[in-house]
Structures are given as C-alpha cells and as structure tokens.
C-alpha cells in the first residue's frame, strides 16, 4: 500500500500531475480578495478567517476529480481492484496522497496569505492548527465524492455539487476556531468538533468509497 502512496506522490510531481494546482488557486483567490473588497484593514481582518477557509476548501476541490478518474481511464483502477491490496486501503492511500500534495501545501502557505488579509496575530496559530486538522477531512470526503462519480464522463461538476455540502461542517468549525482565536476566546469546542469530523471521515469514508468504486467497476 505504501507503494501506491509513493506512486501517487511521484505522479503528482511529474508533468501534468497537478501538484501546486490547488496551491496556485488558493494564492490567487486570497490575493484577489483585498482588490475586491478594498484595503480597509479592519474589514479584511474580520473576513480573513472565512476567506482563508473558503479558499482552502475550493483549492482542495479543484484536484479531487483526479484522485480516481485518471486511474479509471487508463485501466489502473481495474487492476488495483484485482490486486492483493484491499480497495479500502487503495482509497485511504490515495486520499492521503491527495492531502500531502494538496492539503499540506495549503497549510504551509496559509500564514503568509493571512498577512495579506491583516489576519489578527493571535489567530495564526489557530489558522495553522485548524487547517492541519481540517484539510484531511476535505481530502477523504472528496475521495468519497470522487469514488461516487468515477464512472461518469465529465463528472467534475457533479462531484462539486456532491462534495461541497459535505464540506460545510468542516468549514464552519474551522473558520469559527480562527475567529474565536483572533478574539481571544476559548476554541476547545469547535476544535473538538472539527477533529471529530476529520476522524470520522478518515475512519469511515474509505469503506463507503471502496463500495462506490466496486459498483462503478461492474
């Protein structure tokens, strides 16, 4: 299974692999916001947690359809399904690789972009923590959505429609923690809720996604 993980990482870094796609999108989105809403520092600082989280979410969405669609098209998914690794493991490894190539760069880039949005200095810590805890959920929920739409041609839009509503709880709790952190309030409850969503997604969704892929391969 670890080989599959490394293969996906390698593929992401080779030409056309899509590494940096989400990061670039995140960068552009967050840079555009100050141009759109004006340079008012107070306003930017108020909307910064929300913008950063929405940006991370959309950036993550951008590369989701690559998780299984490419393997489906070139026949690898058929072969992986008949290989001695369980399909649940395949899903988990691919979602994890997606997180490493998409989610983790966002976590690393977010503080620098927080600067552009006048993010309150007390909030940086919580921005990093929530992104670190929340983005794995985005990858695993996304992998489930990608598995549901794997057999469809041009399933990207449908995938967005399916996945975005499922992202809402992670978004709410993530932005809430950052907002509270900026105001100096307690963050324990929303942070625990977010961590719970991530753990639940990581534990359960590979099974659901594997079931969806089995149906798609029939």
């Amino acid at each position: 299974m670890i080989r599959l993980f490394w293969r996906d990482i390698t593929l992401a870094f080779r030409s056309g692999g899509g590494f940096g796609l989400g990061l670039g999108f995140f960068l552009i989105l967050v840079t555009l916001v100050p141009f759109g809403v004006g340079p008012n520092a107070e306003m930017l600082s108020a909307i910064a947690p929300g913008i950063l989280w929405v940006g991370a979410l959309l950036a993550c969405l951008l590369s989701l359809d690559r998780i299984f669609a490419l393997d489906f098209e070139d026949g690898s998914l058929d072969l992986l399904a008949t290989a001695p690794i369980p399909l649940e493991g395949v899903v988990a490894m691919k979602a994890f690789a997606h997180w490493i190539t998409t989610g983790l760069p966002l976590v690393i880039a977010a503080p620098a972009l927080g600067l552009l949005l006048h993010l309150d200095s007390a909030a940086y810590r919580w921005l990093i923590v929530t992104l670190l805890i929340g983005t794995p959920a985005l990858s695993f929920i996304g992998a489930f959505g990608a598995a549901l739409t794997v057999g469809l041609k041009r399933g990207g839009l449908l995938l967005s429609l399916l996945v975005l509503p499922l992202y809402i709880p992670t978004l709410i709790f993530g932005a809430e923690v950052v907002r509270r952190g900026a105001g100096g309030f307690l963050v324990g409850t929303p942070l625990a809720m977010q961590a719970g969503i991530t753990l639940g997604a990581v534990a359960l969704l590979p099974f659901a996604a594997a079931a969806a892929i089995r149906v798609a391969l029939r």
């Binding site: 080989r3 293969r7 026949g75 072969l79 399904a81 290989a83 029939r218």
Partner: protein
C-alpha cells in the same frame, strides 16, 4: 484439482444477462481460449472471473488470490518510466523481480523511457509483462494480442507457455491462433435468452 471452476454461471452486463449456463474448469497447465463474435460477452465473462463483478447467477470458485487480470487498457502511467511502472506492480504484488519480465518481453532497452512515449505495441508488451510480476497462477487475458506485431505475439505466446508449464493456467479471449495446445471454448451457444421474463431486482441502475 482445478485452479478456477465455474458452475451454472450467468454473467450480466448492465443488469442484462449476456451468457448463461456456463460450466467449465481450468486446471494447472491448461490454456482456455474463449472465442465468439464481438459483443458475445467474452469481456463480461473475464471480468466476472477476475471478480470485478459478481456473477448474475451461479458461482465462480477460485482461490481469492489466484487471478491476474489484463484488460484492453494496460493501466500504465504515462509519466512513469517502463521500469517504474513495472516495479510499482511488482511491489503491489509482493515484490517480485522485474528483470525476467523485462527480458522476456524485450523491454530492457526501453526501461528508462516514460511509458507515454512508447508505441501502442510496446505499451501492450509492458502491460503483459506486468502479469509476470504478479506471481498469480491464473492469467485472465482480454484480447492480449491487440496491436502486437508477429514477433511480439511470439514473445507473448512463449511467456504464456512458460507460465502454464510452471503449473499456471490462462484464460484468454482472442481471435487469433497463438500456436499452442489449447482448449477452445466458444461462448456463442451460451448466449442468454431474452424471451424469459425475469422478475427480479433490477440492478441495471447500479
């Protein structure tokens, strides 16, 4: 002792039965060649043998790790090199050496070439070389000789021969004669009758 056996099996595609009443078994050393016109259901049968889909009725009996499947698509990554592609599959199947597979399919000179730059026939050879690193006894092959030239077909036939002589078996859907002792299984007589009304759960939407 057969490696894979099929009893009263019906296979379906999109919820519609295509072949029914299938009964056969493949023993070590045996090559079963499936024949039948396009659309007869050979691919569906092979996918069922590979457990990619459940039989509509009846059973397939085989050890869970018996079958290595090769389809129309080779499952190659265009940006990985020949040896990287092969080493990945070898790793997935438990770390067989890729050198014999590269040698037998004449891929040694291409080993550092990205798979995306290979010709159709070279890709096919790489896809078939993958079978050798799986270490599985039953090769289930769907039109393996498509886009292969005469010399490559010979390489392939030799690899299959070596595999079955070593106690393996193969089920191959093909239209050409590969030049070895084979059991021919024509699927056309097993075509499912559609005049029978089946009052069962319609899973065609799945």
């Amino acid at each position: 002792m057969s490696l894979i056996s099929v009893k009263d099996m019906t296979v379906s595609r999109g919820g519609m039965p295509v072949l029914e009443g299938l009964n056969f078994a493949v023993s070590p050393g045996e090559i079963l060649v499936l024949r039948g016109p396009n659309g007869a259901g050979k691919t569906t049968l092979l996918r069922t043998l590979a457990r990619l889909q459940p039989p509509y009725a009846g059973t397939v009996e085989a050890a869970p790790d018996a079958v290595a499947y090769a389809a129309h698509a080779d499952g190659l990554k265009a940006t990985l090199t020949v040896s990287e592609n092969l080493a990945f599959w070898a790793g997935v199947y438990g770390g067989q050496d890729i050198a014999p597979a590269l040698r037998d399919f004449n891929l040694e000179t291409l080993r550092d070439r990205p798979a995306g730059n290979l010709s159709a026939g070279q890709k096919r050879r790489l896809g078939l070389a993958r079978l050798m690193v799986t270490g599985r006894p039953v090769w289930v092959l769907d039109e393996p000789t498509v886009s292969l030239d005469v010399a490559s077909v010979e390489l392939f036939a030799k690899a299959v021969k070596v595999h079955v002589d070593g106690g393996g078996a193969a089920v191959i859907a093909t239209h050409i004669h590969l030049g070895f002792e084979e059991t021919v299984f024509d699927v056309s007589p097993y075509k499912a009758r559609h005049d029978v009304i089946r009052n069962d759960f319609d899973e065609s939407f799945l």
